[in-house]
Symmetry: C3
Subunit: 206 residues, 3 copies
Amino acid sequence: MPSVLVVLDLVGIFVFATSGALVAVRKEYDVFGVLVLAGTTGLGGGFLRDVLIGAAPPAALADWRYLLVPVAAGLVTFVFHPTIGRQERLVNIFDAFGLALFCVTGALKADEFGLGPLPAALMGMVTGIGGGMLRDLLAGRAPLVFRSELYATPALAGGAIAVLGRDAGLPVFAVAGAGACTCLVLRLLAMWRDWHAPLPTGPASV
Amino acid sequence: MPSVLVVLDLVGIFVFATSGALVAVRKEYDVFGVLVLAGTTGLGGGFLRDVLIGAAPPAALADWRYLLVPVAAGLVTFVFHPTIGRQERLVNIFDAFGLALFCVTGALKADEFGLGPLPAALMGMVTGIGGGMLRDLLAGRAPLVFRSELYATPALAGGAIAVLGRDAGLPVFAVAGAGACTCLVLRLLAMWRDWHAPLPTGPASV
Amino acid sequence: MPSVLVVLDLVGIFVFATSGALVAVRKEYDVFGVLVLAGTTGLGGGFLRDVLIGAAPPAALADWRYLLVPVAAGLVTFVFHPTIGRQERLVNIFDAFGLALFCVTGALKADEFGLGPLPAALMGMVTGIGGGMLRDLLAGRAPLVFRSELYATPALAGGAIAVLGRDAGLPVFAVAGAGACTCLVLRLLAMWRDWHAPLPTGPASV
């Protein structure tokens, strides 16, 4: 991978890991729990994708930087959580950057492993939202992504654009940029305008 | 796979996905959450099996029909949930057909991958019950299968019959039919007669 | 594996499976739920490791003894749970032996599969704590390991010692013994002196 992409990837992992560490602090987990939730949230989406597409062991287990970044994010959050917690809106904006990057790199990796466009775009979405879903499971709560403003849809759109562009023979940097920008803009708009996916209507049967 | 088996497989996925979508509607998840729970419940058992036996990427990621069926089930349930929710007994009967099919196809696939009879039968059970267990985890509740009428036992029995018959050299259609019928009859009897697995007796220690 | 290691491995699985079965009994799961939690707790850590390092199908699916041991532990606990539940301190001491063994065998297996020292030590920790984390997820509660006395840290230390010693060319029995003893002593001390990892300080933001 070009080094600019590695740096962006590590930044995305750092931001995701911070969101996991914040949840752990609020659940009053100890420092070990904070680190595990940081690691799971930062790396879990990529782990899920790699296990599903048959790319084990995941890249993160072969490169020590991918392991140290969530540890750093967890320790920083453990110490400075009152300050970071008050900046959650800022964390969420960085999180949108992480999502935009993960959905594109995840979809392109699945594409390289020979999956079709629809499954590859789905794997991009899984890379983007999987870490947060594992975080919520380990925190003993239902995944936020099922009720928050649009989160998975931008990731799916970004992954689909990247994969379709790639299959059309466009250069990888162009399609990665277009996919990531689409995801980022959609996610920021959703946060800004409070866009939600439709809820079921009518009384739910019991 | 012969096309009749593919159709049966897709029907099973549709029914399982519907049960996942109903749970999501009752949790007031948005349409995206409904689709994710539909997909997880419909495909999760097969994903778990394929990851455990080393058959990644799972078949469902290589065939777009396997991805569209849970989407269709999720959307239908999202719109018509008051009607479908009132027919839960009917959904449960279809679910028994899905279970019967999944336990047999799962066990036979594990057998083909070289697992012994006992692990292969277990993988059949995992294929049948895994989707519902993932559904319950994502819905933030303890898996129903641990407390409902007999559900996993019929799946284990069906898988075991299919694998043992196969290892004895019987034709695949015969053993698949015998395994699926055994599972189906046991599960329908359990629903009809309210059969439960034994509960622990005596006071639980704290 | 030398037969003494297999016996130790099976003992560790038995003890872990017993702790899973006790949780299931207290949740009033039926006998099937008790067996599933026994199996998941006893074998889940190894499954997680094998899936992550690309060693599927897991060893436990290729050797019937690995499947029968948790079944035996589950049935014994199902019947004798009032007695076993009162001996939880004893169960926890055996559990420390299981942890010591699992962290070392898990780390050495990951090392053999070509992972670096840091990821291999982490995989040792995952082998040791993964089963208990899956147990808690299936019991619908947040993982205990995030709040209990030191549990994962001893496992990480034991795995690290084994891997570093192995990479330094020391004989496998020596490094396994040193790693397991380190983990065991740390864990028993943590239980005895009630050592906890540090908790976050200061008010958690909301």
